[in-house]
């Protein structure tokens, strides 16, 4: 049994020592990830403060501290949270519908060659369309209401989601397809067990891009197309030019930015987890 022992020995040697990820290192890693961002924010605030101190546009431009206290007070009122609530509800609804529409179209286009010939370039073309350009049509079709906004969100987000899925299906490694076919995977089971899981990374990239488009469409809709209904965040950006409200507008911009960054972080986390599971992450770059 010398060969057997040698095989076990080789396995052990090749796997190397087991990595230990201790809890203590989590804090250090979090700090390593956080400090560049904190530094960047501090820099922006510092520049802002300097510009404010120079007195440039001093009639309207207020300093960071004024805006911060405005935002703090605004957060105490229910108005800000209500607006965030309205906007996030619209964002989720629109995004989920776009997700469904984009995924179904993506899957059909990827599977059916004539459909791909017909729709493939249209989908790519739709991605380049600025969302604001859809609003006149949306208002004609659905009048000024939430449905119009959601329509534009779908037009913005669904093509990206569909394209992500199509790319993923196209990039399924041919060797895995060969392996799957020899195993006897055909038709639906080939998609379920091989092509769709293999497409997941590209699909997630499409979902992320789709979110960005949906969020922009939503902001544009709430701000520019004065929609009938409860006010969302975009509406709060609407100000009267004769009564410049620098602190008010800046506060809302900050809130919108924060929401964008948080959602982006969620997508990044999903993407990292996916790549780690598949061994596509450089372990050296992680620590």
């Amino acid at each position: 049994m010398a060969a057997e022992q040698a095989l076990y020995g080789l396995d052990k040697l090749e796997l190397g020592p087991v990595h230990d990820r201790r809890r203590a290192r989590v804090a250090r890693r979090a700090w390593a990830a956080a400090w560049p961002r904190l530094l960047a924010i501090a820099l922006v605030i510092a520049i802002w403060e300097i510009v404010h101190l120079t007195g440039w546009k001093h009639f309207v431009l207020q300093g960071p501290s004024t805006v911060a206290s405005y935002l703090w007070n605004f957060a105490q009122t229910g108005q800000l949270w209500a607006a965030i609530g309205v906007t996030m509800r619209r964002a989720l609804t629109g995004y989920l519908v776009a997700l469904l529409v984009g995924s179904v179209i993506g899957l059909l286009v990827a599977r059916i060659p004539p459909l791909r010939a017909a729709l493939g370039s249209i989908i790519t073309g739709l991605q380049t369309m600025p969302s604001i350009a859809w609003y006149p049509l949306a208002i004609i079709l659905f009048t000024r209401g939430e449905v119009a906004i959601i329509f534009v969100m779908i037009m913005g987000a669904a093509p990206s989601i569909a394209n992500g899925l199509i790319t993923g299906v196209d990039y399924t490694p041919p060797l895995l397809l060969r392996a799957g076919r020899t195993m006897g995977l055909r038709g639906v089971s080939l998609y379920r067990y091989l092509i769709l899981p293999a497409s997941l990374p590209a699909y997630v990239a499409g979902l992320k891009q789709g979110w960005a488009f949906a969020w922009r469409s939503l902001m544009a809709g709430e701000l520019v197309v004065s929609i009938v209904g409860p006010p969302g965040l975009g509406v709060l950006l609407n100000t009267d030019e004769s009564l410049p409200d620098f602190a008010g507008v800046t506060s809302i911009i900050i809130v919108i930015l924060i929401i964008g960054v948080v959602v982006d972080m969620l997508f990044a986390k999903a993407d990292t987890a996916l790549r780690r599971r598949r061994g596509l992450l450089d372990p050296a770059a992680e620590s």
């Binding site: 080789l10 396995d11 060969r178 995977l185 067990y193």
Partner: protein, 266 residues
């Protein structure tokens, strides 16, 4: 170097044809469209592999080895001629493990069981058994990227076995491994094939590997691929890659291949 004549004579009669053949190729040709013309990859290959036989196919580049395996696996159709596997299940293994990276080792094997309709209740036990066969007990929850190249290839072997194949087609399965791992896996594949009376069609570039493993070694010509020589290798006892018999046959095979490749150089 002691060469035994009996081992080196090209065998005119087909050694494996006696029993019921597991794989029979009759005048099989395969041409591919290449630009305006056609490229003949495989030219009138006839070949019979008996049940439980281990046949190595060796050839230089462009001998259509992989095409041949695809034809036997049914992934591709011959331009002319006939491929007959008599209803046997055929499993295929590649140079790369081709495991699904989103599944752990156990689930990769389980998927092959599921694909042929094995009930969930028995799949678990069968996966454990297969892992034990390739000596990977305890590695079921490791993902492919967490395993070494040799271990991945053993998972791929277990997956091919999970297809309940009677015929195992192997396309340079150990080509990407280091010599020591390859050497150990030769012992393993030999043991597993003997235990399960598997019929193996094993394609390789490596003459020593062919001489080490085969009951018969077929030499293919290049462009187009045609069987130009066949050597029967009697199994006189356990073989080693560095034993004189294996080395002797390997030398003969090398000479024959060089002769064939040289034809293209002139």
């Amino acid at each position: 170097m002691s060469l035994r004549a009996s081992e080196l004579t090209p065998s005119a009669s087909q050694a494996g044809a006696s029993a019921s053949p597991a794989v029979r190729l009759t005048d099989v040709s395969k041409a591919y469209r290449a630009g305006r013309g056609e490229l003949l990859a495989v030219d009138r290959v006839s070949l019979t592999v008996g049940d439980g036989e281990f046949v190595c196919i060796i050839g230089a580049s462009g001998c259509g080895k992989s095409t041949l395996l695809n034809l036997v696996a049914g992934l591709d159709q011959p331009t002319s001629g006939e491929v007959d596997t008599a209803g046997r299940r055929v499993g295929l293994m590649f140079q790369e493990p081709a495991l699904f990276p989103w599944l752990d080792a156990g689930r990769n094997i389980e998927l092959a069981l599921r694909a042929r309709g094995v009930q969930r209740a028995v799949r678990r036990a069968q996966v454990d058994e297969l892992l034990e066969t390739v000596r990977l007990t305890g590695f079921a929850d490791k993902r492919p990227h967490e395993l070494s190249g040799g271990m991945r290839q053993r998972v791929a072997l277990a997956r091919a076995l999970a297809q309940d194949a009677d015929v195992l087609l192997m396309d340079e399965p150990f080509g990407a491994l280091d010599a020591m791992t390859r050497d150990l896996l030769h012992d393993e594949i030999e043991r597993i094939c003997a235990d399960r009376t598997l019929t193996v069609l094993f394609v390789t570039h490596n003459v020593r590997e062919a001489a080490r493993l085969g009951d018969r070694v077929m030499v293919l010509s290049s462009r187009p691929g045609r069987v130009i020589e066949e050597y029967a290798v009697p199994r006189l006892g356990p073989r080693r890659i560095d034993s004189p018999e294996v080395a002797g046959l390997a030398a003969t095979l090398t000479d024959r291949l060089r002769e064939e490749v040289g034809r293209h150089g002139s």
